[in-house]
Amino acid sequence: MRFWALFKRDVLVSWRKKSNIYQPLVFQLLIVTMFPLGLGAGAQTLAKVAPAVVWILALLSTLITLENIFKDDYEDGSLDLYVLSGMNLYLATLSKASAHWVTTGIPVILFAPVIAVLMHLPEHTYGVLLLSLLLATPIFSLLGTVGSALIMNIRNGGMLLSVLVMPLLAPVLIFGAGAVLETSLGNSARGHLMLLLGCTVLSLTLAPLAAAAAIKINLE
C-alpha cells in the first residue's frame, strides 16, 4: 500500500509537471539533429553509428532527469514524510525508481524508434533495440536513485551524479548498444541481452540497498 501510495504520487507529480516527461525526448531530438549536420547526411554513414547513437541518446537523456528523483523530495520536505512513516527505505527506493521508469523510461523506449528512423538504423534491429532498452531503462532509473540519493543536498550536483553513475553504466552501454550493433551486423545478440538481463537483476537487488544507505547517511 505504501509502495503504491508513493508510486502513485510520483507519477502524478511527473504527469502534472509535463516537462519531466518531454524534456528527455526534446533533448534526444536536438542532439540527433546534430549528427547528420556534423557527420554528413549519408544514410550509410549514419546507419553505421546508429546503434551507438540511439543508445547513447537514450542513456544521456535519462541521465539529465536523474538528479531530481530524491532532490525534490528532500527540498520540499516530503522525503521526511515517507522516511518517518516507518516505510522500509528499500521499498521506498524501489517505488521511486518504478515511478521514474514509468514517467521517463517508457517514453524513452517508445521514442527510440523515432530516433532510429532519423539515424537510418536498419529495420531488422528494431526488435532488439526495444528489447535492450526495456532491459536497460530500469537500470538507469535504479542507478539514478542511488546517484540522486547521494547528491540530494548538494547544489548543482548534476555533474557529480554523472561522474558517479557513468562508470556503473559502462557495462550496460557495452551490452545494450552491443546487442543492437551485433544485430545490425547480422549476428546473434543473445549473449549481449542475457548479460544485460543479468545487470538488470543485479541492480534491482543491489541499487535500492545503496540508495537507502545513502539516504540514511544524508539525513544523519
Binding site: R2, S78, D80, L84, E220
Partner: protein, 213 residues
C-alpha cells in the same frame, strides 16, 4: 527509574562534528507539552529531528514505552519541520491523501474536507498547494496532524508564518490534543503563551568542550 511514556536520556547532537548542546534529559507522559527553547543555532531543530527519528542522536537515547525500537516510535509520532512536505503541484486533498496512505491510514473525502475546514482551508480542497500563501501552506501541513491520529506531535517552530487567527487556532489544536491524552514537543523562541501551557521546558545550552583524550 521513571516509567514515563517517552524518555530522552542524555541526548546530544552534532553538527559538522561539533557537539551542539549539553546533554538533554526529558521524561514526558500523556497529556503533556514540552517546549524546547534556545537561541538561534543552538540546535533546536537538530534535536527535534533526532528525537523524531529522522537523524540519529550522537549520544544518549530515546526510549518510547521503555523501548528503543524505532518502528514502534514512528507509528505513534509525527514530525513537522521547517520544510513542510507539501508537493506544490498536488492539490490539498491529494497531499493529505498521500500522507494518510503512506502512514497506512485510510481516509475518505469527508474526513479530508472536515480537516481542511477546521484548518481554515475550506474550499481549497482542489487547489494546488503551490497556489496557497505561506500561512496557508503551513496550515495545510498542520492539518496532517488532525488527520493522522498520532499520539506524539513533534513540531518545529509551528507558529512561524501563521497570522494571529492561525496562532490562536494552533494553540487550541495543541491544547485539545493534550486534553485528549496526546503529547506535543515543539520548538519556539517567542511564544510566551505556549510557554505558560508547557509542562516541560528545555533550554539548550552550548556543550562544554570535551577535555579527555
Amino acid at each position: 527509574m521513571t516509567t514515563a511514556l517517552l524518555q530522552i536520556n542524555d541526548a546530544q547532537c552534532q553538527r559538522a562534528g561539533d557537539l551542539l548542546f549539553a546533554p538533554v534529559n526529558l521524561a514526558i507522559d500523556k497529556s503533556e507539552l514540552a517546549v524546547i527553547a534556545g537561541p538561534n543555532g543552538s540546535g533546536k531543530t537538530t534535536l527535534l529531528e533526532a528525537v523524531a527519528g529522522l537523524s540519529t542522536l550522537s549520544s544518549g537515547q530515546r526510549l518510547y514505552q521503555q523501548s528503543a525500537d524505532i518502528n514502534l516510535w514512528l507509528q505513534h509520532s509525527h514530525y513537522l519541520g521547517h520544510k513542510l512536505g507539501n508537493k506544490g503541484n498536488l492539490s490539498c486533498q491529494e497531499n493529505l491523501e498521500f500522507v494518510a496512505h503512506i502512514n497506512e491510514t485510510t481516509v475518505n473525502q469527508q474526513q479530508i474536507a472536515s480537516v481542511l475546514n477546521s484548518a481554515g482551508l475550506a474550499g481549497y480542497q482542489h487547489q494546488y498547494a503551490s497556489d496557497l500563501s505561506a500561512g496557508q501552506k503551513k496550515r495545510l501541513a498542520l492539518s496532517r496532524l488532525l488527520l493522522l491520529n498520532k499520539t506524539f506531535w513533534l513540531l518545529d517552530e509551528p507558529f512561524v508564518n501563521l497570522d494571529h487567527a492561525g496562532c490562536d487556532w494552533l494553540y487550541q489544536v495543541i491544547a485539545a490534543h493534550i486534553t485528549r491524552g496526546g503529547v506535543v514537543i515543539l520548538t519556539a523562541h517567542d511564544q510566551k503563551k505556549i510557554h505558560q501551557l508547557a509542562h516541560h521546558h528545555i533550554t539548550l545550552v552550548a556543550a562544554i568542550e570535551e577535555h579527555s583524550a
